[in-house]
């Protein structure tokens, strides 16, 4: 056997060994994942609930691989299991772009949870939808818009979080967000509504007018979100400049809000 052949055989053997190790490792991972999911499926209600709280462990798995096992848990009769499963899905999308993309497949189930009887489940489902990458699918928009009428402020805020991460939203959804900014009783929700209009750079006259009105909101959080949103919209929000200038010069406003006003003026001027 000549030297050239020996080298070729050695390299091939090494490659085979490496491939075997890789396959073995992947198999072990798969076995571990399967074991966890088997536990989740077979456990009684109480244990299932405990396992569902292992959010960190689930979140660190390859979501694409374990999603088929997780999806049934979103329909579990126990609200606690549904809640923690939705939280685990959100967490997995929070730590990995691949998981955030894989989460697309869970959207239909998550959308169905937006009408769940348990408010925490509705909120967790909206949070999970919000983290889908690159953007949550448009199919979720109508259910999210419906959620803006939810009686729980945390749920309405979570729905706005998801709408704010859409690539774009249709005019009726914009109208619903504007209405929320104008009429919601919770300042956190009004502030989030302003944030959505800024994040999506909604430049229509109704939205800009609502944001200018929100600059007079009694809550500083809403005023600061409105001024930031107008800055994000930029030049189309030029009609807000006089009012933003007033805020920037108003010594009764907090230094933080005034600095946001100064940033917004520069963004609109550009």
């Amino acid at each position: 056997m000549n030297t050239k052949n020996s080298r070729w055989i050695f390299a091939t053997s090494l490659t085979c060994l490496f491939t075997l190790l890789l396959v073995g490792w992947a198999q072990t991972k798969q076995d571990e994942d399967s074991a966890l999911m088997k536990d989740l499926r077979q456990a009684d209600g109480g244990t299932r609930r405990d396992i569902s709280k292992s959010v960190d462990e689930i979140a660190q798995k390859d979501l694409k691989r374990i999603l088929p096992e997780l999806l049934p848990l979103l329909s579990d009769p126990d609200a606690e299991v549904r809640y923690y499963t939705a939280v685990a899905l959100a967490a997995s999308a929070y730590v990995s772009e691949a998981n955030a993309e894989a989460l697309h497949q869970a959207v239909p189930r998550l959308v169905s949870l937006l009408t769940d009887e348990d408010a925490r489940v509705r909120q967790a489902a909206a949070d999970a939808i919000a983290l889908v990458m690159p953007h949550p699918p448009n199919s979720a928009t109508p259910a999210l818009v419906n959620l803006l009428k939810d009686k729980h402020a945390e749920v309405r805020a979570a729905a706005l979080g998801a709408l704010g991460r859409m690539d774009k939203i249709p005019p009726d959804a914009v109208s619903a967000v504007v209405l929320t900014l104008k009429q919601d009783t919770d300042p956190d929700v009004r502030g989030k509504a302003a944030d959505v209009l800024g994040a999506l750079r909604i430049a229509d006259a109704t939205a800009i007018s609502a944001l200018i009105d929100a600059l007079g909101d009694r809550e500083e959080f809403v005023r600061s979100q409105a001024v930031r949103a107008l800055g994000s919209i930029g030049a189309p929000a030029s009609s807000a400049v006089p009012r933003i200038k007033q805020i920037a010069a108003d010594s009764k406003e907090s230094p933080t809000l005034r600095s946001y006003a100064a940033y917004a003026l520069r963004s609109i001027d550009q």
Binding site: K53, V55, A90, A93, Y94, S96, F221
Partner: protein, 391 residues
């Protein structure tokens, strides 16, 4: 006519006599001033529920001299008036601290400065309300500040003698405890989740608070402060009116180019936002989910429930969450506290009563990755169950 030799000799004799007289006067002055200013080791003077008077001296200028420390044990709240009377030399003036906090400074009357000069000496009285427990009184001579060791030695200023008197009286105001629950990110920066992007998908980084544990830490994610009054006779509901504060620190996101030198600093704070260059966005989260509620649970006891959370306003994110119940009981010989509850495993948490730490939690040394931030998701990761006495 007097011969010139005699005139010269008389002149020399006069100068010598004058010098001798001056030296004697200086020695007398120094002896008087230094009589009570021997170099002494530090003494811990312990007093329980009584007035005290102590001639003492300070080491703020001498190696080997130990400052006296007064440890006052109170079995019930009292007003303490500390009076400091300087012994001898113009220029000494004194800072009076109780439990590490400056309660007053005697007047700085200089110039003149030094034991070779005559002039007024500095004295003063300061009153503070103290709760049940053990308190530490320390005195510092600020008169040495700005003077060299040679000046101090030349003027015989060191050690400085003075007298300290403590007088106890019924408390003029309620005994208060300020609770401070703060969360902060110990590192300078933190990589955001994959959803936090700018430009063509570039990953944003977030500003951390870049500090360790400190009740005075100026940068934080959230801070709840509330002052309670455990004595029912002093305050019916136990909450000092207007003392509750729920504060949220500003959130700043930066484009990756801001980390070119490895840290986020003031040079990265450019004036234009949303351009995916240096400072990208700023916002302050809502404090609407931060809560504190005080319940009177006894004649000398209050319970404070501090709970809630706040999120990152620049990206969809889980909230930083905490849920503590803290009790303070002043019925014993010292104020007793308990803390029970839980919080997320990220970021760092610190809880103080009157600036004394009762709970601190660090998420580790950093740098932090997304698996650390994962601990923001439910459930709460860290249980807290501690108790102790307030010093």
């Amino acid at each position: 006519m007097i011969p010139s030799t005699i005139r010269k000799s008389a002149g020399v004799l006069f100068v010598v006599l004058l010098a001798c007289a001056s030296a004697q006067a200086q020695r007398n002055n120094f002896d008087r001033a230094s009589a009570s200013r021997q170099v002494n080791p530090q003494s811990l003077i312990t007093i329980t529920d009584s007035d005290f008077t102590t001639p003492t001296s300070t080491s703020d200028c001498v190696t080997g001299q130990g400052d006296d420390v007064w440890q006052l044990i109170l079995t019930q709240p009292k007003d303490l008036t500390v009076t400091v009377l300087d012994c001898c030399c113009p220029g000494d003036y004194y800072e009076v601290r109780v439990d590490g906090k400056l309660i007053g400074t005697t007047p700085n009357l200089a110039p003149p400065w030094g034991c070779d000069f005559s002039g007024p000496v500095s004295s003063g009285s300061f009153t503070v309300t103290l709760c049940t427990g053990t308190h530490t009184i320390t005195i510092r001579d600020a008169g040495f500040d700005g003077h060299s060791q040679n000046e101090i030695a030349d003027q015989g200023m060191c050690p400085a003698g003075f007298t300290v008197m403590g007088t106890l009286s019924n408390p003029s105001k309620a005994c208060e405890f300020t609770i401070n629950v703060t969360t902060f990110i110990p590192t300078n920066s933190l990589t955001g989740p994959p959803q936090a992007r700018c430009g063509r998908g570039r990953q944003l980084v977030f500003k951390g608070d870049d500090r360790g544990f400190s009740p005075a830490g100026a940068s934080f994610r959230t801070r709840t402060r509330i002052t309670v009054i455990p004595e029912q006779s002093a305050d019916a509901d136990g909450l000092k009116a207007g003392s509750e504060q729920e504060l949220v620190g500003e959130t700043r996101s930066y484009a990756p180019d801001a980390l070119a030198n490895g840290v986020l600093d003031a040079a990265d704070d450019d004036a234009v936002l949303n351009d995916c260059h240096l400072l990208h966005e700023v916002a302050t989260a809502s404090n609407s989910n931060m809560h504190a509620a005080v319940t009177r649970t006894g004649e000398h006891q209050v319970s404070v429930h501090i709970f809630g959370g706040a999120g990152n306003p620049l990206v969809v994110s889980p909230e930083i969450n905490w849920d503590f119940t803290i009790t303070i009981d002043t019925s014993g010989t010292s104020a007793h506290w308990t803390i029970n509850g839980a919080h997320d495993g990220f970021p760092a948490y610190e809880v103080y009563i009157n600036d004394n730490p009762i709970h601190t939690y660090s998420p580790g040394p950093g740098p932090y990755g997304l698996f650390d931030i994962l601990k923001l998701f439910p459930p709460l990761d860290v249980n807290v169950n501690k108790s102790g006495d307030i010093p």
